[in-house]
Structure formats: structure tokens, C-alpha cells
């Protein structure tokens, strides 16, 4: 188990180097240099002053030296200062936004699993029944609906027409004066729409996958054996099949992380939720390169951590790997 984990950790190193290389390349796609942004506004600047500034930012050095010094700063999570008027360090801005995005994603992930697993298992067990067909229709619609459009429609229905739910932000005005209970209720009402839409967005894929793995497991010999032994259908499905069908799901969880984080740009923008996605969107609109690159690196880092956690989970769940025979 420990050797397996160590192996996984060592394999992270080339990935991290690769991520940094790709990000560095993306930065250098930018036409013009950071100096350009500050000098082009000042027509009186001399060529010598420009050179001094290039030197100050290290732009006169060869590319690999620039890369290495950039990498050194990345390792310390120093992404520089935001180009936005507040000019605060990028890492500070990201740090205060991460909890919102992460907790939203965790909530929707938990909901998604809670719904997708039973849906997928049911569809597999009652294959080709009316229920299975209804679920298939729902899954195909789920794949095809643009989440932002669904968000718009639900905002219109519940926010504008019925007036039941607030449509932006996390808290109502003056909610800080409310008691804990009322405060939580207020927060829950604000979260209901974005969380259900985020959940719905990935529910289709997850339940489809669950159905497929469950079907595969149900075709295995040991299931036939279990049935032949005369075990009840319930024991066969939940004790024998279900547990084995869960394994691949853990890997899928790890893989779905980048999608979730990326998707947060859309619904955080629509619902005005102050998370990392909204910050990223603001950065993109304001051409705030340091901020955009910082979030790109952090997002990739979070994905790596997610994949690692999925691997650990897989190892814990699968005795073949746990005992080093995988």
C-alpha cells in the first residue's frame, strides 16, 4: 500500500513539470510583454527606460532562465500582483475564493453520487424496462442541455415568475444581522438553484457510467454462481455486484474534477457567486494575466490532488492493490 502510494507520488513529479511547461507556454503566447502594458500608456518613455524595465522583469534573460525563475516563484505560490486596480497579490485573491468554489463542488458531488448511483443501479438491474427507458431519455436530455440555459430558465421560473428563490449571490442584504438559523436558511435558499444545476449537469454522465459498469458486472460468472447458489436477488445485487461496480466510479470521480472546476466559471458568473470561477471570469474580461495564469495553475493542481485522492480511494477499496498485487 505504502509503496503503491509512493510510486504514485513520484509519478506526480513529471506531471507537475509538464503542467508548469504548458502554462509557461500559454503565457508566452501573449503578444507583447508585461513591459508593453506599462510603457505603451506613456509615449514619452525612452528606449533606455524600457530596457531597464525589461531587465527588472528579467525579460532580457534567455527563455530557460525565465522559466526557471518563474518556476521558483510558482513553487512558493507567488503568482505576482493582479493587474486589476486593487493590485493585490494574486494568491491572496485566489485564497479567499477557493473555499466557496470547493464547498459548492463538494456539495454537488455528494448530491450527484447520492442520486447517480441508485439511478444507474436501478437502470441496470431492470434493463430494458420502462423505467430504464425513462432514465435513458433523462440521461440524453441531461447530456444535451446547456447548463447555462437551464440556469436561465430556472432563474426565470423560480426567481422572476414565482419569486420563490433569490437569483444572485450567496446572502441577502443585511443577512449578517440574522440569527444563525435564519442565516443558514438564507444561504440554503441562495444555494439551491446553483447547486441543483451543477448536480444536474454531471448527473447524466455519472448515472450512465454506473449503469454500464453495473451491467458489465452483472454479466460476470461470479454473479451467475451467486444466483445458482440460490442467494436472494437482493444479496446478489447489493453484496456481490454493487461493490464491484463501485470501483471504477472512484476513478471517474477523479476525472470529473476538472470538469466541475471548469464548470464553476459558468454558474458562478450567472448566479453572481463570489468563487474562483467568477474571479477567473473577471480576470479574463480584464486581461488580468497574472490572475488568469495563477488560477490555471491552481486549478490544475487541485485536479492533480483530486486524482491522487481517487487513486488512494481506489487502493483502499481494492484489495488487489492494497496488498500490492495489482
Amino acid at each position: 500500500m505504502i509503496t503503491y502510494l509512493l510510486k504514485r507520488l513520484v509519478m506526480l513529479v513529471p506531471l507537475l513539470v509538464g503542467i508548469s511547461l504548458v502554462t509557461f507556454t500559454v503565457i508566452h503566447l501573449a503578444p507583447g510583454e508585461p513591459v508593453e502594458m506599462q510603457t505603451s500608456l506613456n509615449p514619452k518613455i525612452s528606449a533606455a527606460a524600457r530596457e531597464r524595465m525589461r531587465e527588472f522583469y528579467g525579460l532580457d534573460k534567455p527563455l530557460y532562465v525565465q522559466y526557471l525563475s518563474w518556476l521558483k516563484r510558482m513553487a512558493k505560490l507567488d503568482f505576482g500582483r493582479s493587474f486589476a486596480p486593487d493590485g493585490r497579490p494574486v494568491i491572496e485573491k485566489i485564497r479567499e475564493r477557493i473555499p466557496v468554489t470547493l464547498s459548492l463542488n463538494v456539495i454537488s458531488l455528494v448530491l450527484e453520487m447520492g442520486l447517480a448511483i441508485p439511478i444507474g443501479v436501478l437502470a441496470a438491474v431492470r434493463r430494458n424496462s420502462r423505467l430504464d427507458r425513462a432514465i435513458t431519455v433523462f440521461v440524453f436530455l441531461g447530456f444535451a442541455v446547456p447548463t447555462f440555459w437551464l440556469a436561465l430558465l430556472l432563474m426565470y421560473l423560480f426567481g422572476v415568475q414565482l419569486g420563490w428563490l433569490p437569483v444572485s449571490g450567496l446572502h441577502s442584504l443585511g443577512s449578517d444581522r440574522l440569527g444563525l438559523l435564519a442565516w443558514s436558511w438564507d444561504l440554503a435558499k441562495h444555494l439551491l438553484l446553483p447547486v441543483s444545476i451543477a448536480t444536474f449537469g454531471s448527473l447524466a454522465g455519472m448515472s450512465r457510467y454506473m449503469r454500464a459498469t453495473m451491467l458489465e458486472v452483472l454479466n460476470q460468472d461470479y454473479i451467475t454462481t451467486a444466483r445458482a447458489k440460490g442467494l436472494s436477488e437482493r444479496v446478489v445485487i447489493w453484496r456481490h455486484a454493487f461493490r464491484n461496480a463501485l470501483l471504477p466510479l472512484i476513478t471517474l470521480l477523479g476525472f470529473s474534477l476538472p470538469g466541475l472546476i471548469g464548470g464553476s466559471v459558468i454558474f458562478e458568473t450567472i448566479f453572481a457567486i463570489p468563487g474562483m470561477g467568477q474571479l477567473f471570469y473577471q480576470g479574463v474580461m480584464g486581461r488580468d494575466y497574472p490572475l488568469v495564469m495563477g488560477i490555471l495553475v491552481i486549478g490544475a493542481g487541485l485536479t492533480l490532488i483530486g486524482n491522487l485522492l481517487a487513486d488512494v480511494g481506489y487502493a483502499l477499496a481494492d484489495p488487489r492493490i492494497r496488498h500490492g498485487r495489482g
Binding site: 513529471p14 506531471l15 509538464g18 503542467i19 504548458v22 500559454v26 503565457i27 503566447l29 501573449a30 503578444p31 440524453f140 436530455l141 447530456f143 444535451a144 442541455v145 446547456p146 447548463t147 447555462f148 440555459w149 436561465l152 430558465l153 432563474m155 426565470y156 422572476v160 476525472f255 474534477l257 476538472p258 470538469g259 472546476i261 471548469g262 464548470g263 466559471v265 459558468i266 458568473t269 450567472i270 477567473f280 471570469y281 480576470g283 479574463v284 474580461m285 486581461r287 494575466y289 488568469v292 495564469m293 488560477i295 490555471l296 486549478g299 490544475a300 485536479t303 492533480l304 486524482n307
Partner: protein, 283 residues
């Protein structure tokens, strides 16, 4: 082989049986005709303003109503189909080309080439795709060509893995060994003997990929980072739909439905191809 008439016969027999997939094919053909003949089937020009009739609800003159500048929404949705189909096909073309090439090289040569290329695939998979696309668009200016290129270049990884897996099993087959024994060059073996046989699973991901690219483009355009107005795209019509949601539901409803139907059609065709290719499902 893909050219094999037996293969064709079996494939078509299976595919034709799938009524949903056939209907989806019909929808796609219809969309193509619609966008091809857009000037003839629409009542107005896509950017013809009519400031006396802004935000009019759907009527006989304006089937889908008008937008905040009095432009006919039906016309703009039809012209939007041009953009969506173009983005879908070019982006997927790029992603299939890159993915297939990487998969072929990795699978055929194996060893160092394989591990280098596959590590690169792993690295690309670490980035939240939407973040990567947005970051590149920030730098490159949003234009339809940049969007197609970026969507294509960030979505080839799945295809690469798929093709590699196919090639790994194909390269040991007798017909490949025979070609090698006859002295065929690597390039000839890869492109003439292996590629045609590895293509069928790619067909499935191409169809699903078009659906994905259309969704991504519409999300980007919706956020204002995609196709720029006044060029109509389903995503950027929805942007004004959001701004006027309290007064004009038709601005949000119809372009969204267009996306839904198109994406659904491509997904159904993709699934149909998959089922027809899968020997386990054949009875």
C-alpha cells in the same frame, strides 16, 4: 477493414434498425440544409434593425419574436446554426486529426515515444478544460477561428487514448506482419493498413465531439468570450436573453432549444454508431 462490404452491410443493417439514430440523422441533415439556404428561408437579414419593434413577442411576422434591437430572432437562430455547425466540425476535425496522429505514433512505436506522448496526454487532462480554453482566448482575442482551434486543441486526448488502444492490438495482427514482411515502410503500414482499421471507434467520438464542441462554443459565446456580436450565434443570443429575461422569455427559449436539439441529435447518432459497431449488442 472499413472498406469491406461485409462490414458495411452489417453496420448499416444495425444502424438502420435504430430508429432514434435515424431520426437524429434526419435532424442533422435538416439543420445543414437550413443553414445552407439560410438567406432563402428567413424573412429578414440577421442584422436588420427595426427600432419600432423591439422585444416583440412571437407572432406571425416574427415566429420567435424580436430582440432588443428589433432583429428577428428566428433569422438569427437560423444563421446561428451556421456558426455552430462550422465550429463543431472544424474543432472536431482538429481534435480528431491531432488525437489520431498522437494515438497512431504512440501505439505503433511504443517504448519511449509512447510514454512521452501518453504523459503529455495526462498533463493536458490535468487542466480544467474550460479554464485552459478561457486562458488561451484571453491572450488570443476571441474570434471564431481562435475558438475552433482552441476547442480542437484541448479535446484530442480522449481520441488519442482510443486510437492508441486500437493500434496496440492491430499492430500484432497477421495482415500488419504480412505488410512488414513484404517490406512496407512504417508510414505505409501506419496509414494504409492500421489507420483504416482503427477509425471506427473514432467515428463515435467524432459525433459526440461535435456535440461537445457546440456546447462549449455556446457557453463561451454566452459569456461574451466566444463569437462576437453582431455575428449571431446561439450562445450570444442567449446573452441578451439573460439581460432581458424579465421581459422577453422568447429570447432565451428558442436559441437554447436549438442547442438542445442539435446536441441531442449528434449524441444520438454517436450512440447509434457505437451500438452498430459493438458486436456484443448484435443478436
Amino acid at each position: 477493414m472499413l472498406k469491406d462490404s461485409y462490414f458495411h452491410e452489417v453496420f448499416w443493417k444495425q444502424f438502420r434498425r435504430n430508429r432514434l439514430a435515424l431520426a437524429a440523422c434526419g435532424i442533422i441533415v435538416f439543420l445543414f440544409l437550413l443553414s445552407l439556404f439560410a438567406p432563402f428561408v428567413t424573412p429578414c437579414k440577421p442584422d436588420a434593425l427595426d427600432l419600432y419593434h423591439v422585444l416583440m413577442p412571437p407572432s406571425a411576422a416574427h415566429w420567435f419574436g424580436t430582440d432588443e434591437l428589433g432583429r428577428d430572432v428566428f433569422t438569427r437562430v437560423v444563421y446561428g446554426a451556421r456558426i455552430s455547425l462550422k465550429v463543431g466540425f472544424v474543432a472536431v476535425g482538429i481534435s480528431i486529426a491531432v488525437g489520431t496522429l498522437v494515438g497512431l505514433l504512440a501505439g505503433y512505436y511504443g517504448g519511449v515515444v509512447d510514454s512521452l506522448l501518453m504523459r503529455f496526454v495526462d498533463i493536458m487532462l490535468c487542466f480544467p478544460t474550460f479554464f485552459l480554453i478561457l486562458a488561451v482566448i484571453t491572450i488570443l482575442e476571441p474570434s471564431i477561428w481562435n475558438i475552433m482551434a482552441v476547442i480542437g486543441l484541448t479535446s484530442w486526448m480522449g481520441v488519442a487514448r482510443l486510437v492508441r488502444a486500437e493500434v496496440l492490438s492491430l499492430r500484432e495482427r497477421d495482415f500488419v506482419l504480412a505488410a512488414r514482411a513484404l517490406g512496407a515502410s512504417d508510414a505505409r503500414i501506419i496509414f494504409r493498413h492500421i489507420l483504416p482499421n482503427a477509425l471506427s471507434p473514432v467515428l463515435v467520438s467524432a459525433s459526440l465531439g461535435v456535440a461537445g464542441a457546440i456546447l462549449t462554443e455556446s457557453a463561451l459565446s454566452f459569456l461574451g468570450i466566444g463569437v462576437q456580436p453582431p455575428t449571431p450565434s446561439w450562445g450570444n443570443i442567449l446573452t441578451s436573453g439573460k439581460d432581458y429575461i424579465e421581459f422577453a422569455w422568447w429570447l432565451s427559449l428558442y436559441p437554447g432549444l436549438a442547442i438542445l436539439v442539435t446536441v441531442l441529435a449528434y449524441n444520438l447518432v454517436g450512440e447509434g454508431i457505437r451500438d452498430a459497431l459493438d458486436p456484443r449488442i448484435r443478436e
